[in-house]
Symmetry: C2
Subunit: 393 residues, 2 copies
DNA sequence: GTGGTTCTTTTCCACTGTCAATGAAAAAAG
DNA sequence: CTTTTTTCATTGACAGTGGAAAAGAACCAC
C-alpha cells in the first residue's frame, strides 16, 4: 500500500476530466462508453480523461465485474475509489457541532458530536477547530490525506468568500469562517449554508441524482428549502434563497416573529406545533417529542394541530412547485418523525395547490439523520476539490 | 452598399464569439478592453472574436465616438449594427396576432396586428403564416435578410422541439408549431412560452440587463411570471414554471377554476376584478376599463377590490422573492393600467412578506405594450441566431 | 521629447477535444 | 468453425481555441 503523496493533485483540471469524474461519482460504476453518452463527450475524450485520474488512483476499473451489452464487446466498469482521499464535513447547530470524516465518495467513515457551551464565535470556533484536529488525527489511521474541509452553517452565508454574513440562530454577523479555518488547519475550506450543503449532497449522492430541477424541503426547528434549478444549486442574488419558512400561506394565520401573519414556520415548525398543542389541549407539553406522543396517543386536538401543520407544509411545497416546476420534492428534517401524522395533509394540500403540469412533480420523503447535514458540508468540499464542471441540464 | 449575402452566416460559432457578441448586444457600445473584463476573456481573445463579426458586418466600430480613460490610449467603441439582420416576432393571443419586424438589436422596425376569427390551429396557422409573409415582403424594402422567426404562445410550450404542448387559452394540444412554420417559411423558427419570451427580451434589452436573478411578473387577463436564475431563464423540469397565478394566498379566498381557493389569479386578474367589482357595487360593469373608471371615480367599494388585488399580487411577489431571492422584480402587463390604484397595496404586502435579505429586492414597474411581447418572440429568435453562450452569473 | 498608462493587436504556443482508423472481445450468422 | 456484426476502447493526427507575452498605438503629464 503506497502512502498518500504529500501534495494531492486536484483530480480534474480540465473541463472534460471534471465532468467525467463528476459523472462517475454520481452515477456509480459506469463504462467509458456510457460516460461518453451521458457527458456528450467523444469516447476518445473519455479515455483521455480517465487515464490520468486512474493514474493518481481516484478512479479504478472494476476488473472482476463487467457490463455486458446484448451483443458486442463487454465493457469495463469505471468507478471512483473513495479511499484515496478524505474530507471533513462540519455542521454547526446552536447546541452542538456534528462532524464527519468521509471518503471521496462521500461515505461517512467517522462521525463525532460535540456539545457547545456558547453560541458566540469565540466559543464555537475553538471547539470547531478542535473537532477538525480530532478528525485529522483520526484520518492518519487511514493513511490517506484529508483534502478538504466543508462547514455548514444556517443563515446567510457567502460561499464565495466563505463568510457567515448573518446567522440568526447563532447570532453571528460577518464571521470570516473560511479564512479562520483555513489558516488554522491549512486545509482548503468551503463554507456554505446548511440547507444548500445538504442539497448538494442530495444532488450528487442522494435522491437528486440525475435531476436538473428539484427541491429539498427540511422540516424541523425551522422550515427551509434548498433548490436546484437547471442543475445548479440556487443561491439567489444576495446569497439567500429557499426561505419557504416565511411564505405566508394564510393572511389570518398566527403572527410570526418576522412580523408577518400565517408563515409556514409559525404553523408547522417544531416551536409552533408545541405552542399550538399546548394551546389546544391545555396540557403542559414541554418538548416536540411529548407533543408527538400526545398526538400519536390519539388526542384529537393535538392531531388537529399536526394536520394544520401538514396543510401548511403542503401548501408551501405547492408554491415552490408552481413557481419552479421541479421534477421532485424531497421532504426531510427532524420533523419527519411526525410524518405519519401529517403525510396525508401534506399530500392533499400539495395536490390541491399544484397547478397543471406542476402536479406531475414527485413528492417523496427521505429521513436524513443529522450526520447527513455534516455529510452535506463534506460534499461541498468534495465539489470544490473536483472542480466546477458539473453536468448541466 | 453591399447587398445581403444569400446565406447569412451565423455570427457566432465559437463560444468566445457568442459570448462577446451577446455582451456587446446587451451592454451597448463597449470597448474591447471592457468586453474582455466583463467576459473574463483575454483581450487577445476579444480582438480575435470581434474581427470576423466585423467582417460580416454584425459588429461595427463607432469611429466618431471614443471612450477616453483618465489617462492612456483612447479606446474604440464596438457596437452591434442592428441593420444587418432582421427578425420576425409573433405573439398569438386569443383575439389577434401581434407581429413585429425587428433588427439585430431587437429594435422594432415594423409592427402589425391581425384580428383572429377562431382560435383553433386550423384558423390561426394560416393567419400566422400570412402575417409572416407580409413581414417578409416588408423586409425586402430594407434589403436585408430575415434571419429568424420567433413565435410566443401562452401555455405549456416545449421550446426545444418547438411544440405547443397545451395552451389553455387557445385550447391547443401538441401543435408542432416550429415544424409547421419552418417548412412554410424556410426560416429558422423558435417557439416559446410568451412570458418566457418577454423575459428573454427584458434580460437582454430591458430592465433585466446585467442581472443574474430577476423575476418578471405580468398582470392582466392572467397573472404570470418569468424567472431568470443564475443568468438563465427557468423552464422547469416539465417546461412549465412561474405559474404564480395559481399560488394560493388565502385558504379562505374565492374558489378558482383550478379547484383551489384563494389563487392570485382568482383575486387580481382582470376577470376576477370585474367579478368582484360587480359583486361589491352591484353595478353592471362590463369591462376592465369600466371597473377601472368606477374605482378612479372614487367608488370606495370598487377601490377596495383593487386594494385586495394589490395585496394578492404583493403577496405573490413576496413568495417568489422568498423562494428565489432575486435582485429585482419587474411588474408589467395590461393590469398596470390600474397601477395607481394598487401600487401601495402591492408594495405593502410585498414588504410585509419578504423575509430578511429578500426585502433588498428592487420592485419596479415597466409598462410594456403588446408589441413588446412580440418583440420578446423576436428576442428568442435572435438568441438562437447568436448561439447559446450567454454570460452566466 | 520622455516616461507612464491604457488599449489593441500580433505572434507564438499549449492544450483540448474530435475524427477517423484500428484493435479487441463478444454474439450471431452462415 | 469461420465470418460478420456489434459494441467498447484506444491511438495518433489534427484543427481550433484561447492564453501569455511582447510589441505597437495613442494619449497625458511632466
Amino acid at each position: 500500500m503506497c502512502p498518500a503523496p504529500l501534495h494531492e493533485t486536484v483530480p480534474a483540471t480540465t473541463p472534460a476530466a471534471s465532468l467525467v469524474f463528476t459523472t462517475v461519482l454520481s452515477h456509480g460504476p459506469l463504462t467509458r462508453a456510457e460516460v461518453a453518452r451521458r457527458t456528450r463527450l467523444s469516447p476518445a475524450a473519455v479515455t483521455k480523461a480517465v487515464r490520468p485520474l486512474m493514474e493518481v488512483g481516484y478512479l479504478v476499473e472494476d476488473l472482476d465485474e463487467q457490463a455486458r451489452p446484448a451483443i458486442g464487446r463487454p465493457a469495463n466498469l469505471v468507478r471512483v475509489d473513495g479511499g484515496r482521499a478524505l474530507f471533513i464535513g462540519l455542521k454547526v447547530t446552536g447546541d452542538e457541532i456534528i462532524a464527519v470524516l468521509t471518503d471521496l465518495c462521500c461515505r461517512i467513515r467517522v462521525a463525532r458530536h460535540m456539545a457547545l457551551t456558547g453560541r458566540e464565535p469565540a466559543a464555537v470556533l475553538p471547539s470547531l477547530l478542535a473537532m477538525v484536529q480530532e478528525l485529522l488525527t483520526e484520518a492518519e489511521g487511514f493513511g490517506v490525506r484529508v483534502c478538504g474541509l466543508g462547514i455548514a452553517v444556517s443563515g446567510d452565508v457567502d460561499r464565495v468568500d466563505g463568510v457567515v454574513r448573518y446567522s440568526p440562530f447563532l447570532d453571528w454577523r460577518d464571521v470570516p469562517l473560511a479564512d479562520v479555518a483555513a489558516t488554522a488547519t491549512g486545509l482548503p475550506v468551503t463554507v456554505d449554508n446548511d440547507v444548500r450543503a445538504l442539497t448538494v449532497a442530495e444532488q450528487w449522492f442522494g435522491a437528486g441524482v440525475g435531476l436538473s430541477d428539484f427541491a429539498l424541503v427540511t422540516v424541523g426547528a425551522g422550515i427551509g428549502c434548498g433548490l436546484v434549478v437547471g442543475g445548479r444549486v440556487v443561491s439567489g442574488a444576495h446569497g439567500v434563497a429557499g426561505e419557504i419558512g416565511h411564505l405566508s400561506i394564510d393572511p389570518r394565520g398566527p403572527l410570526c416573529h418576522c412580523g408577518n401573519q400565517g408563515c409556514v414556520e409559525g404553523i408547522a415548525a417544531d416551536p409552533a406545533i408545541l405552542r399550538e398543542v399546548r394551546a389546544a389541549t391545555g396540557k403542559p407539553v414541554a418538548t416536540a417529542a411529548e407533543a408527538l406522543e400526545l398526538a400519536r396517543g390519539g388526542d384529537p386536538l393535538a392531531r388537529e394541530v399536526y394536520a394544520r401543520a401538514g396543510d401548511a407544509i403542503g401548501r408551501a411545497i405547492g408554491s415552490v412547485v408552481n413557481v419552479l416546476g421541479p421534477e421532485r420534492v424531497i421532504i426531510s428534517g427532524e420533523g419527519l418523525a411526525a410524518y405519519d401524522l401529517f403525510a396525508e395533509d401534506i399530500r392533499t394540500a400539495f395536490t390541491r395547490s399544484a397547478f397543471g403540469t406542476a402536479a406531475q412533480c414527485d413528492l417523496m420523503t427521505r429521513p436524513l439523520p443529522f450526520e447527513e447535514w455534516a455529510r452535506g458540508a463534506a460534499a461541498t468540499a468534495i465539489q470544490s476539490f473536483i472542480g466546477p464542471h458539473t453536468p448541466q441540464d
